[in-house]
């Protein structure tokens, strides 16, 4: 099977005031609002009745509304009022909404939608209502058009809008995750690259398992992937075009190993580790010109570089102090200043897309943790603990982290997990088999 993978073109029609519901009643209730990070949050009750089929959509209308609900409930910030508790039915998208019926079942937000399909195109429109105030939430009445095959993306877009309106944060549901799919016994593990929706759906394989592949990373536009491959017989960073699956080895210098690649925010530069004679340092490669520059020059191990979102700085790990610790240097290179200061070893730092936090792996007292700290190293917070957690990757909105968790022993296996930056909502991502090294895409265009 030749995997194909193409982002679906989706048109967004904005400003559809015509979709606004009945005139708002005069009410004083505050609009639905969740502030992430502000202490323990009681999940907001929402109702997501099956979307209305406005022609040719059939089961897609219902399926789409299920994905919207799953996205929102999956954040841990919402709970869904089950359909069998609903008093009212939504049978017409433009019919009136009996707000008293939704209030009676304690729904604070009601999401209605309609889907129509023609050929391989579908159109999805939706409204999110502030039930207490009996009106459509500002900016939460939109229409999306796309392909039938890409219907889940439209559900994610609907959920992203609702999530954004209520939390004030960016969305992250309409995104992909590239990862390593694993099979075989621990001492002969087979690995191949795969990509899936953020929630584990729509898995597509990008390579076969003929050679070891490690730690893929998306480009800032999601159309290319960097990873480490043993395809040449030796570990080399490889650049793959996601659409065509064409790939090429970057910076092939005999006698060296290249690994731990990551894009710059503008997509034009790759930072990575190059090992020569046993010593690993960080280098930057201009993809177009091929110009290579050395950013660190130290007899210790320097690896896992990650740019700040503005491209001006690079966070990385080094064992120059004797153990792995996290440092920040200018993007042009240099000594760097250490920011990690607690007990144990700190590694695999990744700069949040919001710029405010660094996610990292920490090893201490025989356990592994995923944690976050501010960019000056303060306010360290450990989010997880297990036999082996490693390799955090940020959701596009900088509020959720995905990582690899591996179990111990001869039958030990890797799986993908996510947790939000407050340490809540820890959960496993459903995958077909053992999986590792997730890397989140940006929000899809």
């Amino acid at each position: 099977m030749r995997p194909s993978f193409r982002f679906v073109t989706v048109l967004i029609a904005l400003g559809l005031a015509a979709f606004a519901g009945p005139a708002a009643q005069a009410q004083d209730a505050p609009p639905p609002r969740i502030v992430i990070g502000a202490g323990v949050i009681e999940p907001m009750p929402i109702a997501v009745p099956a979307f209305v089929d406005e022609g040719g959509a059939s089961d897609l209308a219902r399926d789409l509304s299920r994905v919207v609900a799953s996205d929102l409930v999956g954040t841990g910030f919402f709970r869904e009022i089950p359909a069998d508790a609903h008093i009212s039915r939504i049978t017409s998208f433009d019919g009136g909404v009996a707000f008293e019926d939704w209030k009676a079942v304690n729904a604070q937000v009601l999401i209605t939608g309609a889907v129509s399909a023609s050929g391989d195109r579908i159109t999805v429109k939706f409204r999110a209502y502030d039930v207490l105030n009996g009106k459509v939430m500002d900016g939460a009445a939109l229409q999306f058009a796309g392909t039938t095959a890409g219907w889940r993306r439209m559900a994610h877009k609907v959920a992203d809008v609702v999530y954004s309106k209520i939390t004030g944060e960016g969305g992250y549901f309409d995104s992909r995750v590239v990862f390593v799919s694993e099979s075989g016994p621990k001492n002969a593990r087979l690995k191949r690259l795969a990509v899936m929706d953020y929630d584990g759906a729509n898995v597509q394989y990008l390579t076969d398992s003929g050679s070891i592949v490690l730690a893929p990373r998306f480009s800032p536009t999601g159309d290319r992937i960097l990873y480490t491959s043993y395809e040449t017989g030796f570990p080399r960073i490889t650049l793959m075009d996601v659409g065509s699956l064409k790939r090429r080895t970057l910076e092939e210098q005999p006698g060296t190993m290249t690994f731990a690649p990551r894009f710059s925010p503008d997509g034009g530069t790759v930072v990575f580790s190059l090992e020569r004679g046993g010593n690993s340092d960080i280098y930057a490669l201009n993809i177009r010109s091929g110009q290579l520059s050395q950013l660190t020059n130290s007899p210790s191990i320097e690896t896992a570089p990650s740019f700040s979102p503005d491209g001006s700085q690079i966070v990385f790990e080094s064992d120059r102090s004797g153990t792995q610790q996290v440092y920040i240097m200018p993007a042009s290179g240099g000594e760097g200043r250490r920011i990690s200061g607690g007990e144990g070893r700190y590694s695999t730092p990744v700069w949040s897309p919001r710029g405010d936090l660094i996610a990292f792996t920490k090893q201490n007292a025989g356990r592994f943790h995923i944690g976050v700290m501010r960019t000056d190293g303060s306010e360290e917070r450990l989010l997880t603990a297990s036999f082996l957690d490693e390799g955090p990757t940020w959701a596009p909105n900088g509020r959720v982290i995905m990582f690899t968790r591996e179990t111990s022993g001869g039958g030990g296996q890797a799986s993908l997990w996510s947790v939000d930056i407050t340490g809540r909502n820890l959960k496993q991502i459903p995958t077909d088999g053992p999986s590792s090294d997730p890397a989140w895409s940006p929000l899809l265009p």
């Binding site: 075989g184 016994p185 002969a188 490690l214 043993y230 190993m257 191990i301």
Partner: protein
């Protein structure tokens, strides 16, 4: 791809395909995944087919079993222990007497580390062995190094007894340097 065509022909003739490919852990390589799976945790993971007669002191099998093809390391270390130096001195002596073999030194780490760091650590270990062998007169141009990080443990348990065997550098031979 890493060997000259002429050398590859020689390899084919000698049916040493099992160790020609530096990525011998790739699923496609003979003596790769299948051989390792079959070996289980016994430590005898190298497919001995084509490695020659262990009683022939010039065979790869003899090198692997009698000279000793691997050295072990302490946690996070790439320093060669006195025991490791003894084994490597033996390797150097044998390699100097058997100049027809090309050498790939594999560095490995145990699972208690992050992926990228373990790759770098494995490379350090392989380089430490390479430097020692060079210091003992083995020609540098016969040797390549590769790190597998924590990707290819030889023992699979999650205890120090297994970790100690996984923190290793293995000297893998193939006929190819002017046999």
């Amino acid at each position: 791809m890493m060997l000259a065509p002429k050398a590859l022909l020689v390899l084919a003739a000698l049916t040493l395909a099992a160790c020609q490919n530096p990525d011998r852990y790739g699923s496609g390589g003979a003596g790769g995944a299948g051989g390792m799976g079959g070996a289980g945790g016994s430590g005898g993971y190298i497919d001995t087919t084509g490695l020659g007669d262990p009683s022939d002191p010039r065979s790869i099998a003899y090198f692997n079993q009698t000279v000793g093809d691997r050295v072990l390391f302490a946690v996070d270390q790439s320093t060669l222990s006195p025991e490791a130096r003894t084994i490597l001195s033996g390797q150097a002596g044998w390699l100097n007497q058997n100049p027809g073999y090309a050498i790939i030194i594999e560095g490995h780490a145990d699972e208690k580390g992050t992926r990228e760091y373990n790759l770098a650590l494995g490379a350090r270990r392989a380089a430490a062995v390479q430097q020692f062998l060079i210091s003992q007169g083995v020609a540098g141009n016969r040797m390549k190094t590769i790190s597998y990080g924590k990707e290819r443990p030889i023992e699979v348990c999650s205890e120090e007894a297994c970790y100690a065997k996984n923190r290793r550098a293995v000297t893998v031979l193939s006929a190819g340097a002017g046999v």
